[in-house]
């Protein structure tokens, strides 16, 4: 694991809840599928264990409901979906994220404007 990966992992950790909630808001999903969809959306460095642990924690916190879907090809899959609490958590986190990212973008833009030319 090189330095860039470590940094990405650290950054991801803070927003993983939000990312997982956002993926589940699109469609109910099971553990490994959540990992795949996060990676498809560009979060390449998201760790399998981090996603699994986050799902279990959100479920434990009452933000998700879960149900088991039998699968012909492999093991039964435990699907997770947002409940009201989860949707509320997603809305709040999303607002926080938007304002945070605005502030950060502003900071970064200022830095690149200041030093760029």
């Amino acid at each position: 694991m090189n330095q860039a990966e470590v940094d990405t992992t650290q950054l991801l950790k803070g927003v993983l809840d939000l990312a997982v909630l956002a993926v589940l808001a699109e469609a109910d999903s099971y553990g490994y599928d959540v990992v795949r969809r996060l990676r498809e959306n560009g979060l390449d460095h998201v760790g399998d264990a981090s996603v699994y642990g986050t799902l279990r924690r959100l479920y434990q916190a009452g933000a998700l409901n879960s149900y088991v879907v039998p699968s012909d090809e492999g093991p039964h899959r435990k699907y997770y979906g947002l409940n009201n609490r989860g949707r509320k958590a997603l809305d709040q986190s999303a607002q926080t994220w938007v304002s945070l990212s605005k502030a950060l973008n502003h900071l970064l833009n200022g830095r690149s404007n200041g030093h760029g030319k």
Partner: protein
Amino acid sequence: MASNDPADDVATYASSVRAALSDLPPAQAEVLLEDLEDHLREVASEAGGPLAERLGPPEQYAQELRAAYGATHAGGSRQDPALRDLRLAVRAVTASAWFAQVRAFLPELRPGWWVLRAYIVVLLLTEAFSRNYNLRPIPNPFSSRGLIEIIAAAIAIVVSIRLGRRNRALSNRGRLLAIGANVMIALIAIPVLARMSTFPSMAMMESGAAGQSQQLILPSGVVTNIYPYSRDGKPLTDVLLYDQDGRPLTTSQNVGDVTTEYPGGADGQPITNAYPLRQQHLNGDAVSAPRVALPPWPTASPTGTPPMSPSPSPTH
């Protein structure tokens, strides 16, 4: 250890992760890890290659899980050092490759236990319903009891296997009950099996007549009959013999083709220590007395009472 079987790989990897998280409070670990195997199986089925290659070492995976779940770290809580050492030792054992292999292999022994527990249950029932019955590891098929035991064992094995196969669909509570019942069978079996280990000596006693306790065996062979003679060489009949503890002295009857007929006492019990025994060959001929060489006594008069006689007197 790169295993080719994905199921083995999953079991090995999962047990290593569990071992690395064994310091978590049980309730927390339960919630965090209950779908771990299913999840890993999903990962394994998605693409080839051992899990350790694709997910990193299980210890690192466990650390990531711990962090993502926000679990309390073991180092944070104050702990008895002895307890911590024990926990570390347990973790070292449970994290080892052979433990994972044993753990993955154990479920394959289940059908063996299903057969064994049926056999044990039949033994227990035999023991419960027939006290004093000589419990044998393998029942004698030529006795009616043994035959019943064998048939019962066959039925019990079929039932036990059916129960075992159905258990997978049990609810949590049913599973607990089933585990309890299995442990009970195993525990009760211990004293019964211990008792059974004494079976050879009991079988020897069983082959004799009821109430019999002594069998006379000399270095030259088994004694089947005793022929007493008086001092002057006359054969005696119905001489009662007892051993040093006052028990009736009896001989082996089941020797060759000889049958013994005991005289009945006034109380209806056979008198088994009156010698010589009346014995017959199977063809009905009486067993004849052996020829004996009587020892020559000193020439002193047999009617006199020698002063130095060592023979015990009943009044002394």
